[in-house]
């Protein structure tokens, strides 16, 4: 059984058009994901590269049951993300680009709240929270401070702790190091490696950091305008596109430079 099996997955959104017909603004259908198909083995780390608006976050949100697909299927350890969403929710957790916490609540309170939804009672969380915070390099003497007083790097460490507290077998990392200072970025990357070694977790990493993808992932996929163009180990990818670097391979595969924004990114339909 595959850890993740995605078959011909499609998702469309409507986008407001500036032009009007009969006093109503026209709405344009935009494909966020078009026939995406791939599989992941248990314990594997797959990185999905793509520009802003390429559909990375849509893929993560579909796998985490926050979106309903317009076509195709996705299963997590055999459980369909639509028909069997509850078991999927037990198996999956996520770290996104924004740490997303109740700002006035402390890291301990935020983690307790998250853990309760996964059936962890007060005794269990009292024991586990300080341990997991130490593991991610968060000073436990600050766990009673409001989240609003913590730096962005600290908050992201708490976000990692939140994801791992529930022992997910599939970890969805949606640009987890974007906006972090170099030191925090390295710490988070080290921790992701450690999780892979010690946790038996399957990891889907969506990023636009090419180096991060190369050092962390077993295979790298290129998602461009909702289409998964390729998925292969970094070396094979470079060979496939006869490129020296991953950036060159990306350029060859998509015909565009990596820093270029997708024209649809601004309106946020893919977010």
């Amino acid at each position: 059984m595959f850890a993740v099996e995605v078959n011909n997955l499609r998702k469309e959104f409507f986008r407001r058009d500036a032009t009007r017909t009969h006093m109503r603004k026209r709405r344009k259908r935009v494909a966020a994901l078009e026939g995406v198909t791939f599989t992941m083995e248990r314990g594997e780390c797959v990185a999905i590269l793509g520009q802003n608006g390429s559909g990375k976050s849509t893929l993560v949100r579909l796998l985490s049951t926050l979106l309903l697909p317009d076509g195709g299927t996705a299963t997590i350890f055999g459980h369909d993300v639509v028909k069997d969403s509850r078991p999927v929710q037990r198996l999956v957790n996520r770290v996104s680009v924004e740490a997303s916490f109740f700002k006035k609540m402390s890291s301990e309170e935020n983690l307790s709240y998250a853990a309760r939804f996964y059936g962890m009672g007060p005794t269990e969380t009292r024991e586990k929270i300080p341990k997991i915070l130490s593991r991610v390099g968060f000073p436990t003497d600050r766990m009673h401070e409001g989240m609003e007083h913590l730096s962005r790097g600290m908050q992201q460490k708490v976000a990692l702790a939140r994801a791992l507290l529930t022992s997910p077998v599939l970890l969805l990392l949606d640009e987890p190091t974007t906006g972090l200072d170099p030191r925090s970025k390295l710490e988070v990357q080290d921790f992701i490696r450690e999780v892979r070694r010690t946790h038996d977790a399957t990891i889907l990493l969506c990023t636009h950091d090419l180096q991060e993808a190369e050092i962390l992932a077993d295979r790298i996929g290129i998602l461009d305008r909702g289409k998964l163009i390729t998925l292969a180990p970094a070396d094979e990818l470079k060979e496939q596109y006869k490129a020296e670097t991953l950036e060159d391979a990306f350029f060859s595969a998509t015909g565009r430079s990596f820093d270029e924004e997708d024209e649809d990114a601004e309106r946020g339909v893919f977010a």
């Binding site: 959104f13 949100r61 309903l68 999956v92 109740f102 307790s112 709240y113 309760r116 339909v269």
Partner: protein, 280 residues
């Protein structure tokens, strides 16, 4: 990989999740303590402006039993404040989570929606009862109100039964920010305002036009207000309040499951249209 727990583990999971929602709301109340104090002061001032009306009528030459009229208005104002708080909490099930950015984490977690919504509702009712009781006592003492026959236990039972309906209607309105992230929370005021007009909060329902009186028969607030007033002003017990209690039970049995069903439809809509996210 099997992740389906047995019945007892599943029940425990739901109980822990329920407690988690209640606990989270308690943390937020603690952390926003000064805001709560400010809101309480606002409720106090608002209630005072209403209960002074009875004294005002007497001062203007009207013939009125000031003690009874003031108590009647006070009950209306306190129940209105209670209702507003329950609705506010229920509507914020989505709106607050979206504002804080936690909405995606909450909605991807393995918690059943009825358990989630009941957790929010029960906390709102408990906190609302506490706040309303303080408001009632403070103003009753300020005005030196006499309630020699009051049956507070019967009034509390009526309020408890009515709260199920209030939670149900609150759940229906809480779906609005899910469908319309920009204006959904404000739309909830329409439901609240309608209840204010038709339920006889400050006047008897009999003064309303016929069509409004018909609407008042489906509002749980009508029965709650009438029952609580009857219990506090006339000392009515559960038996004589039965005429107000049974409609509340029926409305409650319909309103909460209907509210959860409407919320579920809203959640499906939001998942189809990508609205279940922090930025809307």
């Amino acid at each position: 990989m099997s992740v389906i727990p047995g019945p007892s583990a599943s029940l425990r999971h739901e109980a822990v999740s329920f407690a988690g929602v209640v606990e989270r709301n308690w943390y937020l109340i603690k952390r926003y303590g000064w805001w709560e104090l400010a809101f309480f002061f606002w409720s106090l001032a608002n209630t005072l402006t209403i209960v002074f009306i009875a004294k005002g009528i007497k001062a203007a030459g009207g013939h009125i039993d000031v003690n009874r009229a003031t108590t009647t208005l006070l009950i209306g104002a306190v129940i209105w404040s209670f209702l507003g708080l329950v609705f506010e909490f229920m509507t914020e099930t989505v709106a607050w989570e979206r504002w804080e950015g936690t909405i995606e984490y909450t909605f991807m977690a393995p918690i059943r929606r009825p358990v989630h919504l009941a957790g929010v509702g029960i906390f709102a009712v408990l906190y609302g009862v506490l706040r309303s009781a303080i408001l009632f006592v403070v103003i009753a003492l300020m005005f030196g109100l006499h309630m020699p026959n009051a049956n507070f236990l019967a009034a509390a039972i009526v309020l408890a039964i009515a709260s199920i309906s209030f939670m149900g209607i609150g759940t229906m309105t809480s779906v609005l920010p899910l469908i319309s992230p920009e204006k959904g929370a404000q739309l909830g005021f329409i439901a609240q305002g309608t209840l204010l007009v038709i339920s006889g909060v400050y006047y008897p329902v009999s003064v309303l036009p016929g069509w409004m009186q018909w609407l008042s028969t489906v509002s749980p607030a009508t029965y709650a207000l009438r029952g609580i007033r009857h219990a506090i002003l006339d000392g009515a017990g559960i038996t004589s309040l039965w005429g107000d209690i049974w409609p509340l039970i029926i409305i409650g049995l319909i309103a909460f499951p209907l509210g959860v069903w409407i919320f579920k439809q809203g959640e499906i809509y939001a998942k189809k249209h990508g609205k279940l996210k922090r930025s809307g």
